[in-house]
């Protein structure tokens, strides 16, 4: 059998964002996978060096649209540590509340995307409809659906009132019921289970060696969660369980995420019931003495780490961001080997890829080179499709 290489991306219906996976297949079986980044670079790390600490909150928020709160919290925590601020309890609790609501929305979104990649559009529609509930809650709390902008250095920007609390509890009650229904459905519908069980195997040792993070790692049976390992905010005061699965496949990742959803509902309820009174923020200085800090955060997709170095001015010397998706790419390549072509979107979606999260380094516009070359379709074909690989697809059975 002859091998051919097919491009999945940078534009492909399975990918919601641009990334290029070069897949070498033999018949319907994937033999090798390679990943090429760089389609979505915005130069955020470079840009952060020329902006003040306050402006950078909103800059890091725009690293990702789905886990926007995770980046700001990670950044803000780091800056607070740099200038030694003690954030009031109420502020921390509201911050955690948004964290968990964001986790709920991200996991529901992911469940829908996974269903869509498996061709299960009804489940996709239903989960996304129910996700609107948590989106509305976030809008009520923060004033916007995607970029909540609730964090500021030294606390949070908005307080919570009784009506909002009630609405949150109501929404969580509804979502709890729905999530239980989806768990039942997702694990009993034969066509869906057939697609996700035993697909994308990542053994425990491989997961550890390749530095996988988040649900991908936990689905391989490793109990690692920054909220437990390295409690930030006030997570050490909140009772919750760490969710793992040992099937090491896509089904395991679904199970981990659904379990985490249920844990998140519990955390939200706990936070609302035990919300401390008091201030929500303290005043922050504009300039920060030279120091360095490593801030870690458990985003819905896994460990998010920011390294911040200050130099005495009101701008950081260096801000390094590592989003969870980048850490999961080596593991994904491992998972893609020897799977079917049909499983590629599912396996890739199972790490919950956020490509714009993972790519934030460099602006790509070359100022000197103004003229772009226009290639005709024929030239592109000649360039990229050599004639000998034209019709050599092999019979799959």
């Amino acid at each position: 059998m002859k091998k051919i290489t097919i491009p999945i991306g940078p534009q492909h219906p399975a990918l919601k964002e641009p990334i290029s996976l070069r897949i070498t297949i033999e018949g319907e079986v994937v033999k090798h996978a390679d990943v090429r980044l760089g389609y979505n670079h915005r130069g955020i790390e470079k840009l952060a060096e020329s902006r003040t600490y306050i402006q950078n909150i909103y800059l890091v928020e725009r690293i990702c649209g789905i886990c926007s709160h995770s980046h700001t919290t990670c950044y803000v925590q780091g800056v607070e540590k740099l200038c030694g601020l003690e954030v009031p309890k109420r502020g921390l609790y509201i911050r955690m509340l948004v964290c968990e609501l964001e986790r709920i929305h991200s996991h529901l979104l992911w469940l829908g995307v996974a269903a869509h990649e498996a061709g299960f559009d009804s489940l996709f529609m239903y989960t996304w409809r129910d996700r609107e509930v948590v989106m509305d809650l976030l809008e009520i709390i923060s004033g916007n659906r995607v970029h909540y902008a609730i964090n500021t250095i030294g606390g949070v920007r908005r307080n919570l009132n009784e009506i909002q609390k009630e609405k949150i509890l109501e929404g969580i009650k509804f979502l709890k019921k729905r999530t239980e229904y989806y768990t039942n459905l997702g694990t009993t519908e034969p066509t869906f289970v057939a697609r996700i069980a035993g697909v994308g195997i990542l053994p425990k040792e491989k997961a550890i060696a390749l530095c996988a993070v988040g649900p991908t790692l936990r689905a391989s049976g490793v109990s690692s969660d920054i909220r437990k390992d390295d409690p930030y905010a006030a997570y050490d005061e909140i009772p919750f369980d760490l969710c793992t699965a040992d099937t090491c496949d896509v089904l395991g990742r679904v199970v981990v995420r659904v379990k985490e959803l249920i844990e998140s509902y519990k955390i939200v309820e706990y936070i609302i019931k035990n919300l401390p009174q008091g201030e929500i923020k303290v005043k922050a200085p504009r300039k920060i003495q030279p120091a360095e800090v490593v801030s870690r955060y458990e985003a819905p997709r896994g460990e998010n780490i920011h390294y911040i170095k200050s130099n005495g001015t009101d701008k950081p010397e260096r801000l390094k961001v590592r989003a969870p998706t980048l850490a999961n790419y080596p593991a994904t390549i491992e998972m893609l080997k020897n799977c079917f072509v049909a499983d590629i979107p599912l396996i890739f979606a199972a790490i919950d890829p956020c490509i714009c999260c993972a790519e934030r380094f460099v602006e790509l516009i070359d100022a000197k080179k103004g003229n772009s070359t226009v290639l005709s379709m024929a030239e592109i074909r000649k360039k990229y499709y050599s004639t000998e690989t034209k019709r050599n697809v092999v019979w799959p059975l």
Binding site: P13, T191, T387, R391, P396
Partner: protein, 323 residues
């Protein structure tokens, strides 16, 4: 007179015009029902509750830019959509819609027309395979190969299931089979297994979830249709719609006792019965996730084919008891 009648038959009812109008209506019905099952609105703006949306889509595609890949065989690539559409339209003519008197066979109703319809319904699959193969795109080629692989899965169960009512009715003529079950409707109860096998096989033939493997968009982009655009894509979409009407019409004829009662009552029955079959197809589409090609072949040979054989056995026994 015969010529005029034949022309009306070919061009108006139940020929091209009727099939076009009705298949776009069926697509709207399918889309609307699918949307409502998913708690959405579905097509809403074109015409009353979006009823003209499929026509609008068709017209829009007709005016879109039409691109033929450089390396593709131009003639074959361009002619395949038309051939496919012609095949399914021809198959539509054999549905016993205008057979007021069964004892007088009209020119399109003859012994063995059920075989002809089944054969004509197999051809679009080959057209799709050729379309995929001639697109010279990796995704299309993969789609084409998947089309053919799937054909070996569902075709045998479909044939066995559709032919077993014919065995009981002791005829290979669609009008006669329908007429037979008009007289003995209770015999249809013995064909329930066959009905479901045929519906599932039709779902696979129409490449709808859970069998939309050849054009699974999240896996192989557009599959067979990746390189098709403009008019050609419009024809292909129309071909699938007409195929859905003809396929559900065939199932309605052999399993739901056909469309007796003259032109108007027959038309009403035709619409109701095909919509019933399409509703089941939509429900299956909404309730399942796409399976893999290997799982599909295993499913067909492990469950569908044995069930079809079982149905055949039941039919033979029933026939023996009747006689």
């Amino acid at each position: 007179m015969a010529v005029i009648k034949a022309l009306i038959y070919l061009l108006v009812y139940p020929g091209i015009l009727f099939l076009f109008v009705y298949s776009t209506f069926c697509e709207w019905f399918d889309r609307k029902l699918y949307a409502r099952l998913q708690n959405r609105i579905g097509p809403a703006y074109t015409g009353r509750s979006g009823i003209l949306q499929p026509v609008a889509d068709f017209l829009k595609l007709m005016f879109k830019e039409d691109i033929v890949p450089e390396n593709a065989d131009r003639t074959i690539f361009s002619s395949l959509p038309v051939i496919g559409l012609a095949i399914v339209l021809t198959a539509g003519l054999y549905l016993p819609l205008w057979n007021i008197n069964v004892s007088v066979p009209s020119f399109n109703s003859f012994q063995g027309d059920i075989i002809v319809v089944l054969y004509l319904l197999s051809l679009p699959t080959l057209v799709l395979f050729l379309a995929g193969w001639h697109s010279t795109n990796f995704f299309s080629t993969l789609g084409g190969v998947r089309v053919l692989t799937m054909l070996f899965g569902y075709e045998v169960p479909l044939f066995l299931a559709v032919l077993s009512p014919a065995i009981v009715a002791d005829s290979w003529r669609l009008a006669e089979i329908a007429d037979f079950y008009q007289k003995f409707p209770f015999l249809l109860l013995f064909q329930i297994i066959g009905f479901f096998v045929a519906v599932v096989a039709l779902q696979a033939k129409l490449e709808r979830t859970p069998f939309d493997i050849p054009h699974a968009e999240t896996e192989i982009v557009g599959g067979t249709f990746t390189e098709y655009s403009g008019k050609k894509l419009a024809f292909f979409r129309l071909m699938t719609d007409v195929e859905m009407v003809v396929g559900s019409g065939l199932i309605a004829t052999v399993f739901l006792a056909g469309f007796s009662g003259g032109v108007f009552l027959g038309l009403l029955k035709f619409i109701l019965k095909t919509l019933f079959v399409i509703a089941i197809l939509s429900l299956i589409k909404a309730a399942c996730s796409r399976i893999r090609i290997d799982q599909m072949v295993i499913f067909s040979w492990k469950y569908l084919a044995p069930l079809a054989v079982l149905q055949l056995l039941i039919s033979i026994i029933v026939k023996g008891v009747i006689q």
